[in-house]
Every structure is written in structure tokens, then in C-alpha cells.
Amino acid sequence: MMSLMTQKSIPAKQPISDWFRRNVAKLVVAPTFGLIIFFVYGFIAWTGYISFTKSKMLPTYSLEGFYQYIRLWKMTPWNVAMENLLVFGSLFILIAIVLGCLLAIALDQKVRAEGVLRTVYLYPMAISFIITGTAWKWILNPGLGIQNLVQSWGWESFSFDWLINSEMAVYTLVIAAVWQSSGFVMALFLAALRGVDSEIIKAAYLDGASLSRIYLVIILPTLRPVFLSCFFILTHMAVKSFDLVVALTGGGPGYSTIMPANFMYEMTFRRNQIGLGAASAMMMLATVMAIVIPYLYSELREKKNG
């Protein structure tokens, strides 16, 4: 009976079920796609629009051209924030990748207790930046942390006061961020190293290549996609870094360690300058685009050629 009914109904419903089968993937994706279009790209567009208005406490919608951008670039705190982003971002990405890569190579040498070591290095990633920042704030505080400890050992003239030194405070952010992220970079590299074909390495050994040469010339170049992933992940972490600054330095001493995200928050939510905040947010977006798009472009193009 059942089979009869289904058999009967098939010819009539065929076009619909056929259409359904062809479009099932699109249908599944459609809601999330719609939500992302609205909540991510829609709001980016809205922020972009607001950045061209004189919005203060409440958004207004009459366009004023580049007024907010001109003001933005005249402000010392914004320029300090962009310089900090440059210093912090480049050092953080570079050191985290180099350190992560070296750790991965070291762990790849079939060391004993590798599982334990891997967990130890990866663990900081499980901690939020707020905790990392607070812990490092205590460690780096001259009166409580390292300086105090070393001085109490008898080295009275020892000084390590980066945290309270306007010139050096931005490097404390690098220390904390590298501590947090290099284990994660290591994990990515380690996974990739395990995927390298051991036959190639054995062949290189037979040819008499040294270990360092094998890594530099053979293994690392095959890890290029991992470099790309690490670069992306670390770049966006650097640009949106906000909580680490809040917890570790509070933007201080003075405002010497503020980042663009802190500036944006301060302007939008504390100083009732929505237009200016929107302009700084658009500049942050532009920064990410300026770095990521050329990199992505070159990577993808080479893949197509190769």
C-alpha cells in the first residue's frame, strides 16, 4: 500500500523533489548566509556610512565628507595607537612564528615526554587574554614581580621597569602576547611537520644533507600554507587586541600603549564620538585589508600557476 502510494506520487512531485535535491546545499547555507550578510557586512556598511557623518552621542545621517578622518589623523592618541599597532603587530607576529616554529622543530626530534611538553606549551592558548594580561601585570610590576625578586636575591641595581616606562611598555604587550600564542603556532607547525613525507627526508639523509639544511631547504618550504594560516590568525589577533591592553597596561603609562581598538572603544562608548569611533573602525578594517589582501592574492595566484 505504502509503496503503491509513493510510486503513484513520484511522477507528480518529481520536479519539486528534483529541484529540492539540486538546491539542498544552497537552502542549508541560505539562513547563515543571510545572517552574515546582514550582521557582518550590513553593519560594516553602516559603520562606514556613520564614519562620514558628524554623529556624536546619537547617530545622525547627513553626510559630511572626510571630516572625521581628517580629525582622526590630527589626533595624537590615534597616531600613537597606529604606531603601537605597527610595533606590536610586527614583533608579535614575527616572534610568535619564529618561536612557534623552533619549538615545533625541537619537539619533532622524537623527544621523550613529547605529549606532556606539547600540552605545556599549548596550554596558554586556553587562557583568555584578560588572565594573561593580569598575570603578566603582576610579574612585570617592578614592586611585585621580577625586579623585586632579583633585587631580593641581592642584585640591588637590577632594574626591569618596562611596564611603567612609556617608551618600553608596548614591548610588555609583545611579551605577554607571544607567551600566549607561540604554543598555538607550535601546534600548527607540529601537525604540519608530521605530515611531511618521511621518504623525502630519508632520501635527503642518504644524499648527505645536514639536519639544518633538510629543515631549511626541504621541510620549511613545504610548510608554506601553515605560515599563511599563522600569519592570518596572528594578524587579526594583533589588530583587534583590546583585552590584553586593558588588563596589562590599561593603555598606560599615559596613553602610550593604547591600540586602535582601545581608541575606538574610548571614542565611541566613553566620549560620545560615534562618528570618530566609526572612522577609526574603518581605518582598522583598511589596515587588515591592506595586509591580508596582497598576501592572499599572491598566495592564491601562485597556487593556480603551480
Binding site: L144, I164, P253, G254
Partner: protein, 420 residues
């Protein structure tokens, strides 16, 4: 997709009609109160208001937004107003009241104010803060004095020091303390704390007229004047009086340095008194409260509740009841005893208040009469959030670098101009 939108619209309509129904079903004075007093003595103080309100037949809808010293609340408030559903009463202060009033978001309490005679009991400066175009739009709950020195008498006695009456005396005392190995000034290196010290020096060296010209009128010649340069010179001196680890320290940690005798003095508003009292210290014996040198000046900070435009009769009745209670003598006394501030209305009995609060009340009266009463810049009474932020940027950068006073005044004028 079409049916999805229809469903969505239907659901929204349904939900909002339920919500509306719930609101209109109540027939009593109702006030939804949006505030950020969520911890410690502040939470206790707001609970006192709630109990008072309920005892008078009101229905209190508590809407606390914790965190960020009001930043988080501001975001909630903004979205509520934009969606056309503002809370009845919101804890905002200073120039934000004027900004919201200019956006036509605030109701009018003038009639109630006339009935209750607010014009006679509120200090004129405070009236200016809570009125817009001559209409009452908010009610003040308290007055905090900002320009206090909290001193440890034992530390002062060690160098035979007296609380300073001029900034020269302050410097001389600080030098003596430093020579005796005591940190003269307990301070936390956060922009608002730098700004707090800065404004007391501005009032002390320039007087009330100078203070208002610089921060309220934002007059460029005043900002670049020699007096302002002297103020920055004094700030540079103060930098030498703080300990090495001051960066980023919270104000209450600085207060406890004074308590323990590690530092002799702290310049901070009278919320610092709460820390001393909580530790069981007695004013006048374990700690001293003296105004910063300013020749009878007084820097005022005041919290208030602004009443937003609401349409239902219940909400309007709730606002009126709340406003009347807030400015009533009974609540002013209870609340401010909890909070450590002094009543916003004058003439409340001083009986239950401690020595420092009584001094604050007396000084307020005389400063208000002599015209030496000013609104705080660092606490957003005299200057809007944007201007205050711009001033604090320069002050804190100067304090944390070797910027000269000449450069500092130029930068100050520039930053204020950019912020407007």
C-alpha cells in the same frame, strides 16, 4: 523566504503585544531605573532608594548595568532611546544631562520642582547642572567633593608637618617627607586620577574664574596662559612626589598606602573616605581630611537621575514620586550616609554625618556664596565626555613623559579644539 519574513513579523508583533500588555496592566506609579550602582556601598545606597520608593506605593523595575563605570550603561541607554523605549529614570550626570536634553529625550519636572521648592534648596551651580532651558530635567542625589587631601597624621607628625594651605607649603611639606623616606603622594597612574589632581591644582593656582574660563568656556588664551604653564610646572613637581610603581594603580590601593603610612597624602574625592571608614579608621584621628590649597574653593561632583520622556501615566507618576523622594530630606540623609557623599539639598541636619562630611557641607555653603564653587572637569560635570577626554589625554601624557609646560599648554589647546 517570504513566509519566513511574515512569520518573523508575526512573532515580533505577538511578542511586543504581550510586552505592551504586561506594561499597561499595571496601575501604579512605576519607574524602571537604569543605573550602574551595583557593588558595595553604592548598591546599599540604591537599595535604600528602592525600599523608600516601594514603601510609598511605587513599583520599582530595577535595571542595573554593571561594569565600566557607566560605559556599559550608556550603550544600553542609547539603544533603548533609539528604539523608542527609554527607561523612566537613568543615572546620568553632568553635561550628559544637557546632551540628552538637547536630543529631546528628557521629560519636564518643572511643575514638581515648583511645588517642592527645589529652587530654594539646591545650590545654584547644581540647579544649572540639572536644568535645561530653565526646566528641571533631572534630580541630583548627592554631592561629592573632589578637592580633598587625605593625610596620615602620623606620617605628617614624623616631619612636624601641618596640612598645607598653599601649593608652596604643599611642596615644602612633600620635600620634607621625601627626605624622611616617606612617599609624599599616594597616586594611581590612571588618566582620570591624573585629571583629578590636575583640576585641584588648576583651581588652587588659578581660582574659580580661571577654572571656568579654561574648562567651561574653553578659552584658548586662558588655556595657553602663564598660569596654566605654572599649573603644569606644579604637575611636574607632583610627578616627583609619587612612588615608582604608581602606573595603573587603582585609587583605592593608593588610599590604603596612606592608611598603612607608606605614603602621607592622597588627592582624591570623598569616595576615598569610604575606604578609611571600611577599615575602621576614625576621621580626625587616624586620617585627616583637608581641602587642597585653593583659598576657599570647592570642586563639586554630583550623581543624578535624569527623567526620560515616557508616555504612560503610570510611568509619569512613577517619575514624579521618584523625583520627590530623591530630593526629600529623609532619602538625602540615608543615601549619603551610605555613599560617603553629602546631601545635594542644603539644610539637611548635619547630626549623623562625620567630621569630613560636615566640613564639606559648611565649605559648600560658603563656596557657593563666594562664587568659588566649580563643577568637576575630571568627573564630567564642567566638561563633556569628549572635552574631558581630550584634556585628560594631554594631562596624562605630560605626567608620564618629560614634556615641557610650554608644549603641554599648546597641546592642550589643540586637543580641546579637535575634540569639539
Amino acid at each position: 523566504m517570504k513566509s519566513f519574513t511574515q512569520k518573523l513579523a508575526l512573532t515580533t508583533a505577538l511578542v511586543s503585544s504581550i510586552a505592551l500588555g504586561a506594561i499597561s496592566a499595571q496601575a501604579e506609579p512605576t519607574a524602571e531605573v537604569l543605573h550602574y550602582w551595583t557593588s558595595g556601598s553604592e548598591a546599599k545606597a540604591v537599595k535604600a532608594l528602592k525600599e523608600d520608593f516601594e514603601a510609598n506605593g511605587g513599583k520599582w523595575l530595577d535595571a542595573p548595568v554593571a561594569g565600566g563605570g557607566g560605559d556599559a550603561q550608556a550603550a544600553v541607554l542609547r539603544s533603548r532611546v533609539l528604539s523608542g523605549n527609554p527607561p523612566a529614570a537613568v543615572q546620568i550626570k553632568g553635561l550628559s544631562i544637557q546632551e540628552w536634553a538637547e536630543a529631546d529625550a528628557l521629560g519636564d519636572l518643572t511643575k514638581l520642582g515648583e511645588e517642592e521648592g527645589w529652587d530654594d534648596v539646591l545650590p545654584p551651580l547644581l540647579q544649572k547642572i540639572v536644568k535645561h532651558d530653565g526646566k528641571y530635567v533631572a534630580v541630583p542625589v548627592n554631592i561629592h567633593r573632589v578637592d580633598w587631601i587625605w593625610a596620615n597624621p602620623e606620617s605628617l607628625a614624623k616631619v612636624d608637618g601641618e596640612p598645607p594651605r598653599t601649593w608652596d607649603e604643599f611642596n615644602a611639606l612633600a620635600d620634607k617627607l621625601q627626605a624622611a623616606g616617606i612617599t609624599p603622594l599616594a597616586h594611581g597612574g590612571q588618566p582620570w586620577q591624573d585629571g583629578t589632581v590636575f583640576e585641584t591644582v588648576v583651581l588652587g593656582m588659578g581660582g574659580a574664574e580661571f577654572f571656568n574660563k579654561a574648562f567651561v568656556e574653553k578659552d584658548a588664551t586662558t588655556i595657553k596662559s602663564d598660569t596654566m604653564k605654572k599649573v603644569f610646572d606644579q604637575m611636574r613637581k607632583m610627578r616627583g612626589y609619587v612612588d615608582a610603581d604608581f602606573s595603573g594603580r587603582d585609587w583605592n590601593l593608593a588610599t590604603s598606602m596612606v592608611m598603612r603610612g607608606e605614603a602621607a597624602m592622597q588627592i582624591m574625592g570623598d569616595w576615598a573616605k569610604g575606604e578609611f571608614l571600611a577599615a575602621g579608621k576614625v576621621p580626625g584621628k587616624d586620617f585627616l581630611c583637608v581641602p587642597t590649597p585653593s583659598n576657599g574653593g570647592y570642586i563639586l561632583n554630583s550623581d543624578s537621575f535624569a527623567m526620560f520622556n515616557v508616555s504612560s501615566e503610570d510611568d509619569k507618576a512613577g517619575q514624579a514620586l521618584l523625583a520627590r523622594l530623591i530630593l526629600g530630606e529623609k532619602f538625602q540623609e540615608t543615601f549619603n550616609l551610605y555613599k560617603g557623599s553629602i546631601p545635594a539639598r542644603m539644610g539637611v541636619s548635619t547630626e549623623k554625618f562625620d567630621e569630613c562630611a560636615v566640613k564639606s557641607m559648611v565649605d559648600l555653603q560658603s563656596a557657593s556664596e563666594s562664587g568659588a564653587l566649580v563643577g568637576s572637569m575630571a568627573h564630567e560635570i564642567a566638561a563633556s565626555g569628549a572635552i574631558r577626554g581630550a584634556i585628560l589625554d594631554v594631562v596624562t601624557e605630560h605626567f608620564n613623559s618629560d614634556m615641557t609646560s610650554d608644549v603641554a599648554v599648546e597641546r592642550l589647546a589643540e586637543a580641546i579644539e579637535l575634540a569639539e
